[in-house]
Symmetry: C2
Subunit: 165 residues, 2 copies
Amino acid sequence: MLTFFHYNWVVREQWYQWCEEITNDELLRERTGGVGSILQTLFHIIDVEWSWIRMLEGKPDTPENFEDYKNLDKIRQLDEKYRTDIEGFVEAWDDSMEKRPFYDPQPDGSVAMDAWGEVMRHVIAHQIHHMGQLSVWAREIGKKPVSPNVIGKGLIHPETVDEDQ
Amino acid sequence: MLTFFHYNWVVREQWYQWCEEITNDELLRERTGGVGSILQTLFHIIDVEWSWIRMLEGKPDTPENFEDYKNLDKIRQLDEKYRTDIEGFVEAWDDSMEKRPFYDPQPDGSVAMDAWGEVMRHVIAHQIHHMGQLSVWAREIGKKPVSPNVIGKGLIHPETVDEDQ
């Protein structure tokens, strides 16, 4: 689980660096699909990750409004503010938590029940999905998108036979 | 690991069903970003999943050409043809394989070393990323995309306290 979160944080940082080369107007421009703009996508990824982890922790969510985060610096600051708490939770993850139930009140008054393992994978896939949208928008403005490759980022150190012995 | 593969297969099937409502011309239309068209994206996802798993298995890859798979039925048949083999590998996955080295010859003559756990996550993220691209293209043609939600698909059955006792 941790490997995928590390992957997402590495790729997110690479998108921040990519954004440094783009004007703020372009980052805020309304686009087709997803949540509508590049910066709002980054905000949304941070916001959703934070909200779900807080809910699993049983801690109060602290909703933020995108109106207050409409430039790259503020987005990065928000991400940094949340990261330590999220990292602590993710690093303490163990497989015994996979099937723990999370009770999720629905807008219609019913209560859905998700497994914690589903919620964690939901958070992981959520970012990757939205980064795919960013990659299309990047091409639309004539820029090469950040690579989504998992391999080649040094996320897991392979054990060669010599090390095993 | 298996949960994420199941997720991808469920979402892929939902995209196939989504495609049934779209003309083949629209599915083949060249688009900005990714690998260029909706059908070619689906082909690419199947192809990449198959190639990586075959390489991990130490079995020969069997390259296919998109020119031979330019409609939904043929794409589905290709997916079905590969699925049993891939499922067998994924279901036999255990954590002891995470750090096993995979030697990956590069175009420049060097050999990269990836961990098997990285390769598996690469395959998982690869599809999710490309589905994100499909979601933008879906909106461009005025259609609601398939939901990328992990929760709500019954992928993990939560254990309530009563069951634990």
